[in-house]
């Protein structure tokens, strides 16, 4: 009997702890913010987009069990949890964007356009218009993230299919190619006309170059400028153990956030950004030694984040629900690192970058943490163990923000009330 009581009380305690741990869907947030699970297990959800009526569209990395790779979610009874969920589209990918009555989505080589009706249902799920096609997909960094400016131009990331443009990718001792031939068709942001069908490279314009891989990009409507977050290069220590220790590699190079003007060059693969020296340093594949400074023609970052955390999405906050400090600032989601190993991984959170007079202050802070679900706030040692990995960001019509996870496919809704 005593034993039974003991067992019951242990079970009860565990149950209570579980409930406590699940408060705010397991997330740690600033005071006054609340989070709940808007959806779960919808499949690896990359970017998300939300219509004016609050319907959420999530782009899946790969088709789910039903064979669908765009998921439409609706919270019809308005309790903060999606209750009407269905899907369409057979192609995996990352990008998704709502522009007026149009829904744009990207595969790893093309951008498609769907039409929405007055209920934000997709009119032509099987017959989208092809806006752009034939974009390079060589597996590595093949996600085609998309955003729009305030006219109707679409900006597409075409990631470099390489780590550092070596003659042989990720091979010790292989030199960097000069000039890097990848940059003619990848490693940058391309601009296309959002309303014109059947465009390809020749119809577009290389808007910015020297960007290894950009997952997160958003248009700042306050200043009418494009902002992008780059995934910095990997494996300085693996290939140059004489120049970089494991500990140095864990902090190099910075994940960089740029304010982009047309024609900008961020310097990949020739340079990387060293956050402790505050300098652009020549890549070892191009004769660098960890100290030699790169050309000043390359763009300075607006913010330098710790290395390898993998920025996945950028969202300028234009809502009125959150406290005023968030207005026109940028949220940025971090997938969490793998290339810090053997040191513990970092990231797996959503950060906030305050803006003043249209410029990033650089004093970023962690906004939402705990996605990885490690017990007692432990560090993630091995990336595969993280429960959720923040990916897409979008703002709802009420000013709440939504964060998607591309592991199992959770969507978190984060709201504020005084």
């Amino acid at each position: 009997m005593k034993k039974q009581i003991q067992l019951v009380s242990i079970a009860l305690f565990a149950f209570c702890m579980n409930i406590l741990a699940q408060e705010n869907a397991g997330l740690k947030l600033p005071e006054g913010f609340k989070a709940n699970l808007y959806a779960n297990n919808i499949g690896g959800a990359r970017h998300i987009a939300i219509t004016k009526s609050g319907v959420v569209f999530a782009k899946l990395n790969n088709p789910n069990k039903e064979g669908n790779a765009i998921i439409r979610l609706e919270d019809a009874n308005n309790d903060g949890v999606a209750d009407k969920i269905n899907g369409f589209a057979k192609y995996g990918g990352t990008g998704i964007f709502v522009k007026g009555n149009s829904l744009y989505a990207s595969s790893n080589e093309a951008v498609f356009k769907y039409e929405l009706n007055s209920k934000d249902e997709v009119v032509n799920p099987l017959t989208p218009l092809t806006i752009v096609s034939g974009l390079l997909d060589r597996r590595q960094h093949n996600s085609k993230s998309i955003t729009f400016d305030m006219a109707n131009n679409i900006y597409v990331n075409i990631g470099a299919y390489s780590n550092a443009c070596q003659e042989k990718d990720r091979t010790p001792g292989s030199q960097g190619m000069m000039p890097c031939p990848i940059l003619d068709s990848a490693g940058g942001i391309w601009k296309f006309d959002g309303s014109k069908e059947n465009q390809t490279y020749k119809d577009g314009k290389r808007y910015a170059t020297g960007l290894r891989n950009v997952l997160g990009l958003d248009w700042n409507t306050e200043t009418n400028k494009l902002f992008v977050a780059q995934h910095g290069r990997d494996q300085l220590n693996s290939f140059y153990p004489n120049l970089y220790t494991d500990a140095q590699n864990a902090e190099l190079p910075a994940e960089t956030f740029y304010e982009i003007n047309e024609g900008d060059n961020a310097g990949w693969p020739y340079v990387y950004y060293d956050p402790s020296q505050h300098k652009k340093i020549v890549s070892p594949e191009y004769g660098g030694d960890g100290k030699k400074e790169g050309s000043s023609e390359f763009k300075e970052p607006a913010v330098a984040f710790p290395a390898h955390m993998a920025p996945m999405a950028v969202l300028f906050y234009t809502g009125n629900q959150f406290p005023t400090k968030y207005k026109n600032g940028a949220f940025i989601s971090f997938h969490g690192s793998w290339n810090r190993a053997p040191l513990p991984q970092e990231g797996f959170f959503v950060a906030f970058i305050p803006f003043k007079n249209g410029k990033a202050t650089g004093e970023w802070e962690i906004f939402a943490n705990g996605f990885a679900g490690m017990e007692n706030g432990a560090k993630v040692t091995n990336t595969g163990k993280a429960k959720a990995r923040p990916c897409g960001l979008a703002q709802g019509p009420d000013g709440s923000i939504y964060v998607s996870d591309d592991n199992k496919g959770a969507i978190f809704k984060i709201s504020y009330s005084k």
Binding site: R139, Q140, D169, Q235, W338, N339, P342, T383, G384
Partner: protein, 146 residues
């Protein structure tokens, strides 16, 4: 007859002792192989495949529990380690996109050691890989290339 009856148990004992020594030695060798293999894993493989062999979703495939790592096609594993791999990996219902670095300088015994380590670590309980298996796999690959 008397002699014989004495010899038989001694013979049996020697056989037993020899077998015991052999087993201990092979275990020691295996253990040594695993130690060497672990060192190689930590310097060349850990960054991408992670210390728990869990890999990185969508990028670097897991080694722990992976059917092909624990499978019988050792030649394929040997050739991936030596020559790298630059195709999309479909493994146990998931896809992985990153290219794997070649290890042209890794000797046959080192490849055997690292494979022995990987196939007997975490939840993996596949057999050890011998140098002769590695040599045969590399020869086979040469023949295919020709």
């Amino acid at each position: 007859m008397k002699n014989f009856s004495i010899i038989v148990p001694i013979n049996g004992f020697i056989k037993f002792a020899l077998l015991f020594c052999f087993l201990v030695l092979t275990q020691l060798c295996n253990a040594q192989n695993k130690i060497n293999g672990k060192k190689i894993f930590e310097t060349r493989c850990l960054v991408c495949h992670q210390s728990d062999g869990g890999g990185v979703p969508n990028m670097n495939p897991p080694l722990d529990g992976a059917t092909n790592v624990n499978g019988k096609d050792i030649a394929r594993l040997v050739n991936i380690i030596r020559n790298g791999y630059d195709e999309r990996v479909a493994l146990d219902g998931m896809y992985y996109n990153n290219a794997m670095t070649a290890n042209p300088d890794l000797k046959e015994d080192a490849i055997a050691d690292v494979l022995t380590y990987v196939r007997n670590s975490w939840s993996n309980k596949a057999g050890a890989v011998t140098i002769s298996q590695v040599k045969a796999a590399l020869l086979k690959n040469k023949a295919v290339k020709k």
